[in-house]
């Protein structure tokens, strides 16, 4: 029996889809599989987990991972302290400034991270002068780096609630501004905060540009450095970091999906400042 034109078209479409999925699927999968293979091979045959064991035994790698985790926590705290009160305040008292604040928050997307590093180096001379030469001072730069993404997440969350009415109600019951923000607004944008925190953590854990050019040893810098002596360990660390980031960001899309009407935080507009 001959096929009708409509069936032929459906068939052509299916062939096209399968071709695209298989071809691009291979392109994306082969490097990941290679990482697993490469990091576990032993010269002369066999498999070994030695490179993976280095993730916990290698002192440099361990301290780099630790630094990055500390930086992630500090950046999240800094981001929340800087952004949440400002954004709530804008909505409550200076709505005229809303567009300006949005523009400023999204600005780091259009300025490449590398460019910021070039200009920020002299500023960091002062930062180290006051705070000492600690990798944790990277927090200041990282807060700027995560600003656009956190802003989008928080903005979506705040748009979902009536900030004005909530704060009026709380203040009529005798709450001060601090209480309004900490006890009334924040609990109502919990999932947006969680999204903002997730994406910030993911970005900080993958950050290399600032750390390497300002000469601090975070996880990515150590992985890169290690590559020169033990590329298998570097590949193992990369795969581990990638999987961790994968889980984190997938978790983020799940959190994002729970609230209806919130745009996915991950859908990026320009991100020239990004690692890549």
């Amino acid at each position: 029996m001959s096929r009708t034109p409509r069936q032929q078209r459906a068939r052509r479409l299916r062939t096209f889809r399968i071709t695209v999925f298989v071809a691009l699927g291979l392109f994306f999968l082969v490097p990941l599989i290679s990482m697993a293979e490469y990091s576990t091979r032993v010269n002369g045959g066999g498999r070994s987990g030695a490179a993976w064991a280095a993730l916990v035994t290698d002192p440099d790698l361990r301290s780099g991972i630790l630094t990055s985790l500390e930086l992630a926590v500090l950046t999240v705290v800094g981001m929340i302290v800087l952004l949440v009160p400002t954004m709530v305040w804008v909505r409550l008292r200076v709505p005229k400034a809303a567009r300006t604040i949005e523009f400023l928050c999204l600005l780091p997307l259009t300025i490449p991270a590398l460019v910021i590093v070039v200009g920020i180096a002299p500023v960091y001379a002062w930062v180290t002068y006051f705070l000492g030469n600690s990798a944790l001072t990277l927090t200041f730069a990282y807060v700027v780096l995560v600003l656009p993404y956190s802003f989008r997440a928080l903005d979506a969350g705040l748009s979902g609630i009536d900030v004005q009415t909530l704060s009026d109600a709380a203040r009529s019951l005798g709450a001060g501004w601090f209480t309004v923000i900490a006890r009334v607004i924040v609990p109502n944008i919990a999932s947006a905060l969680l999204s903002a925190a997730f994406i910030s953590v993911a970005l900080v854990l993958g950050e290399y540009t600032f750390a390497s050019l300002l000469d601090f040893q975070n996880m990515q810098v150590v992985i890169d450095y290690l590559g020169k002596s033990n590329s298998q360990a570097s590949v193992a660390a990369s795969l581990a970091a990638l999987i961790f980031g994968f889980l984190l960001l997938l978790l983020l899309t799940l959190v994002g999906r729970r609230r209806r009407g919130e745009p996915a935080v991950l859908a990026p507009t320009p991100q020239p400042g990004q690692e890549g």
């Binding site: 078209r9 479409l13 096209f16 889809r17 695209v20 999925f21 691009l24 392109f27 994306f28 490097p31 990941l32 599989i33 290679s34 990482m35 490469y38 800087l82 952004l83 009160p85 400002t86 305040w89 008292r93 200076v94 400034a97 400023l104 600005l107 780091p108 259009t110 300025i111 490449p112 590398l114 460019v115 910021i116 070039v118 200009g119 180096a121 500023v123 730069a141 700027v144 970005l203 993958g206 290399y208 540009t209 390497s212 990515q220 992985i223 590949v235 990369s238 990638l242 980031g245 994968f246 899309t253 991950l266 859908a267 990026p268 320009p270 020239p272 400042g273 990004q274 690692e275 890549g276």
Partner: protein
């Protein structure tokens, strides 16, 4: 006076935020602009003139080639993938999963991505070994992975998923009714894409490609981890200028290079904004 002061008071709440951005975003930008035009503390065009140096020029050219080619590759394959996703069940699990994965891969760059391709295609990479042992093909060649061709391949790994994410909304905006109405009025598949689908998607396609261009142009970490010798592209030239005190005999060349990057990205983003405005005329 009193009422005016009271009116200004709320604005004071923005001071911490603005102060922070001033120190860590505005001042660095100003430092670049000022630094690009000073030499040994005096106004000078020396650094800007340094941009005309053949090696700097070559790096910019390679950067533009890298950005343009990965933007093109990303745009073509990304839109094909996006169409393959859209033409399936829109609420299906496959589509949701693929979109999430693309979201992750678009962010996946830097050191980790460089090592992924080192594990695959370097001299002793898995794929290199496999092809050498079983097909007798030498895919490593003379080390193209660590030069411009390698960067093009590696960048495609995050450009294609980024295209999927930025282009998908535009594809979703194409209604089934338009397809059916065109068909009804006598359009073949080709005519539909030529007269309806194409013109409708073209601005979004071009806009997405511009984003990809800016994204590639601004990328640093992947290239830095992959290429440890030579400065084939502008970002790596900046690395050299930052890490060695004086390059090409100029102290502040890094500022001029950074300014060059700002200008290129600004031009691209301005073109993008123009395109977005044009599309929003129809799809509102």
């Amino acid at each position: 006076m009193k009422t005016r002061a009271r009116r200004l008071l709320p604005t004071l709440g923005l001071v911490p935020f603005l102060g922070y951005l001033t120190v860590f975003l505005f001042i660095p930008t100003i430092i670049i602009v000022v630094g690009a035009f000073t030499d040994h503390g005096r106004a000078s065009l020396t650094n800007i003139q340094g941009l005309a140096n053949p090696t700097v020029w070559q790096a910019l050219k390679q950067s533009l080639i890298l950005s343009a080619s990965t933007a093109a590759i990303g745009a073509v394959f990304g839109s094909l993938l996006a169409y393959a996703l859209v033409s399936g069940n829109p609420s299906g699990l496959a589509r949701r999963a693929a979109t999430s994965v693309c979201g992750v891969l678009a962010q996946f760059g830097g050191v980790m991505l460089a090592f992924a391709f080192i594990a695959t295609l370097s001299y002793s990479g898995s794929l290199t070994d496999l092809l050498r042992d079983h097909a007798g093909i030498d895919i490593f060649g003379s080390g193209w992975l660590f030069a411009l061709p390698g960067l093009i391949l590696v960048y495609s790994y995050f450009q294609i998923p980024l295209m999927v994410i930025v282009f998908l909304p535009a594809l979703d905006g194409i209604r089934v009714q338009w397809r059916e109405a065109a068909e009804n009025l006598g359009a073949t598949t080709w005519q539909f894409w030529r007269h309806v689908g194409g013109p409708l998607l073209f601005p979004a396609f071009l806009g997405s490609a511009l984003l990809l261009f800016a994204n590639a142009f601004a990328s640093y970490a992947t290239a830095a981890a992959l290429v440890s010798q030579g400065n084939p592209i502008t970002p790596l030239y900046i690395r050299a200028a930052l890490t060695s005190e004086i390059i090409l005999g100029r102290q502040n060349l890094a500022y001029a290079l950074a300014l060059e990057m700002i200008v290129v990205v600004a031009i691209v983003m301005a073109a993008y904004a123009l395109l977005v405005r044009r599309t929003s005329k129809w799809l509102s």
